[in-house]
């Protein structure tokens, strides 16, 4: 429940947001105590989740750091229809105003950004259902075995296909089966012979025998899946030997992983967009004269940069502003790109005035990677003093490596690719014709953390039910790590 005062400011903020063209599902604000906030935050914003110690761990961390005054959560908003937003009761009035304006930005982003389009807007119910289902399973099969299985699934949680919603990778099961082995089939079983000798050199029995052999060989070599599959969780769900309850658990974990994926995929944009709108609405409309200094203080807190990391609020906000300015002044397109005159460029203003339209379009169609790839320019990089750094073993400290635009951008994009997670896909589920699962890590110069990989394989083997393998590389040399369920071995791959 909001106080009368807050209702007044909410209505004002909402009115302005709508005037600016923000378009959102109705936002329901709840003022919550610190305990409630820590609880909600540890549950990912949903009051009803399935029982699991990991939420307790998050709660432990959040409540300790709140108790010792190290961090405080101002607000939390979840992607549902209607959109729920929780406001911390200890916020000052100014903070509540700022946060409400900020939330309208998020709500608009959730509704309109294309990467969120597949998410279930009734997730509140769905999460509660997941909770009920897992509790029922636990009642029937025991808390520990179910929790252990959940742990195994969570261990594989990051192995999903982040673009699954947008791209159809699998063949349509209804489409006529194409014989992709046609090439093999064409291979003639006959020995080479002149026409007139053929029936002597290749008697019918021999040809049949050979054909059978080829067919047998084909079956041995046949791979399943026939295309690699990045949605490892989905693949396991369909093909691993699981009990019905295990299948249910796995499918719940997978559903939730896909629900949360776009938020990680658009962190910079989402925070940047919300910050853009809280600044606009606050400074143009909601701020009273007496609040200016306090506002500046709170706002600069949210966009402050920590040494050695980028602040997504700051980066996103500045990029949106930069885009708006460039499209307002017409600093895009061929003329602009080809202009070499420094002074002309500095004075460039064609009064195109398309900035606002452009940023709305960007918030609809881009994710963090494409956003940075498309709009981060050399000027921007220089203006914001961006650099890459690396750890220097010799001096024992992190050192600035380069301020070169291409390197900064490359590093940034690399770190965002696949959420900074290694790219891993299912290649074969009948590896070596023994029903073993083979995953492949696409090696891009960054190695897997091997001790972790071993432990993950053990969990994967528990789900798959047969030995599992992963092909990766160590020190540039390809290796195969195999786990038979208990032991993990690795050998070089030729």
């Amino acid at each position: 429940m909001l106080t009368e005062e807050l209702v007044k400011w909410r209505n004002l903020a909402r009115e302005r947001a709508v005037e600016y063209g923000l378009d959102f599902y109705e936002v329901i604000y709840e003022v919550v105590s610190d305990h409630e906030m820590n609880e909600l935050a540890s549950l990912g914003g949903f009051p009803q989740r399935y029982p699991h110690w990991r939420f307790g761990m998050e709660y432990d961390r959040l409540s300790k750091s709140y108790a010792y005054g190290l961090s405080k959560i101002y607000e939390m908003v979840i992607n549902t229809d209607p959109c729920y937003a929780y406001l911390m009761s200890s916020n000052s009035l100014l903070e509540q105003k700022l946060v409400m304006a900020h939330v309208y930005g998020h709500a608009d982003f959730f509704k309109n950004n294309v990467y969120f389009s597949h998410t279930n807007r009734r997730m509140l119910d769905q999460m509660a259902n997941h909770g009920v289902r897992i509790r029922k399973i636990q009642e029937r099969y025991g808390v520990e075995p179910v929790e252990e299985f959940i742990d195994c699934c969570l261990s594989l949680e990051n192995l999903i296909d982040h673009h699954a919603a947008a791209i159809k990778r699998k063949r349509d099961p209804k489409a006529p089966e194409k014989d992709i082995y046609a090439a093999t089939a064409k291979e003639s079983p006959k020995l080479k012979a002149k026409n007139y000798m053929d029936k002597f050199i290749n008697p019918i029995e021999y040809v049949k025998e050979q054909e059978a052999k080829i067919e047998e060989q084909r079956l041995v070599e046949e791979r399943f899946p026939d295309l690699t599959d990045r949605d490892v969780l989905g693949y396991l769900l369909q093909n691993a030997q699981l009990n019905p309850w295990q299948q249910e658990v796995l499918s719940i974990i997978r559903d939730e992983a896909y629900y949360f994926a776009p938020q990680a995929q658009t962190k910079i944009m989402n925070e940047g967009w919300a910050s853009y709108w809280h600044t606009k609405i606050m400074t143009k409309h909601l701020l009273t004269d007496a609040e200016v200094i306090d506002y500046a203080c709170v706002h600069s807190g949210t966009v402050a940069t920590q040494p050695g990391s980028l602040n997504p609020y700051k980066l996103g906000l500045e990029l949106f502003r930069n885009i708006e300015e460039r499209w307002d002044k017409g600093q895009y397109g061929r003329d602009w790109e080809e202009c070499d005159d420094y002074i002309a460029k500095a004075r460039w203003d064609k009064k195109t005035g398309k900035g606002r339209d452009k940023i709305f379009e960007v918030r609809k169609l881009y994710n963090d990677i494409t956003f940075i790839d498309t709009f981060m320019t050399e000027d921007f990089c220089r203006e914001h003093k961006m650099f890459t750094f690396a750890f220097n073993d010799r001096s024992g400290q992190h050192e600035i490596q380069s301020r070169e635009f291409s390197q900064v951008k490359q590093q940034l994009l690399t770190s965002l690719t696949n959420f900074g997670q290694p790219l891993i896909e299912v290649v074969d589920s009948n590896f070596e014709n023994r029903g073993e699962l083979l995953l492949r890590h696409t090696f891009d110069g960054r190695e897997l953390k091997l001790d972790m990989a071993d432990l993950t394989l053990i969990n994967l083997a528990k789900v798959w039910g047969r030995p599992v393998n992963i092909a990766t590389a160590v020190e540039g040399k390809p290796i195969l790590i195999t786990c038979n369920g208990e032991e993990v071995k690795s050998k070089p791959l030729s």
Binding site: E39, L43, P51, H52, W53, R54, F55, G56, M57, Y59, D60, R61, K64, S65, Y68, G69, L70, E144, D151, S155, L156, N158, L159, T305, P307, G308, S309, L310, H384, K385, M386, F387, T388, F389, A390, F391, Q397, H398, E399, I400, R403, V408, L412, S415, G420, Q421, P422, H441, G445, E447, L448, K449, L450, M452, A453, D454, L455, T456, N459, I470
Partner: protein
Amino acid sequence: MSGIKRDHGRFKDIVRGRIRKNLKNFISQGEMIARQGKDGKVSIPMPQIRLPKFIFGDNKKGGVAQGEGNEGDPVKGMQEQPGQGEAGQGEGQHELEVEVSLEELAEMLGEELELPKIEPKGAKEVTTKNYKYSGINKFGPQSLRHYKRTYKEALKRQISSGVYNPEKPVIIPIKSDFRFRGWAESPRPQTNAVIIYIMDVSGSMGDVQKDIVRNEAFLIDTWLRSQYKDIERRYIIHDATAKEVDQDTFYRTRESGGTLISSAYKLLVDMVTKDYAASEWNIYPFHFSDGDNWSTEDTKVCLDMLREQVLPVVNQFSYGQVESRYGSGQFFKDLIEAFNQNEKLVASRIPDREGIYDSIKQFLGAGR
């Protein structure tokens, strides 16, 4: 019970090793490390269970940031130790630094490690009287008048008798409203405690090992100080010979050369017989070493000395073996072999900084 309470309880049970023992390997305890000095900062342990996942190793650690500086300059304000954090995947730090007082630290230590309160031994006859203002009396001298309670009583009386007018809140206490602080006298057994730290400073004890000892000693100190009113501390360092030093030297000295543990134990025995009568003192020797003794004969001398002269008089003898690359760690095995049955001797291995936590629990967990 609300969901999160259940989850939280379950998490704590896992961390404490009560259930789901197979998760033990994934728990990082986090350390409660205090920086000595005026600032009194302490890292709060934040136990985290990290389920294994396919993630990148740290062979390409680095990232993008913004700020001033030229190429090759160190990044200002970044933590210098790379080993501790995660591989820059935004997993977040597990240790948080806050400022706390020593009392708070001891309290946290006790809570986190579930340390039992110590039952002091000692001369029960030797008691001191302790006065404490602990209660409220209806009578007493004006100097001990308790304003707040008095006015509260007056307010209560006025409201119940209908005299109180919220528009014009005047409260006048009458005699029966007055409340005074009362004191209670409690006899308190005089307990004396002494901690004797012994450290091996031979060549094989490097800076890392010393750092571990320093942190562990500080935390032990904090805990024992919260348990005893006054506590004395003595410091002994030894390589082939032993000497008593002050605290500062204790932590700084680095000698080289061989190790004769018996030299230190001899000094310990002398110290105890001279200054600390076993009937009146709670004696806690802590010995930190990398477990490399000069010879088996000397080890035998040590064991005899411990058995006959040290263990009978101390509350507990604690031996902490800091693992080092050069130490053989033989002394630990010898001790365990010789004193397996004796609960007054606690030996613990401290493989690294994270081990401090477990080691303290071993040392102080018995509550002796």
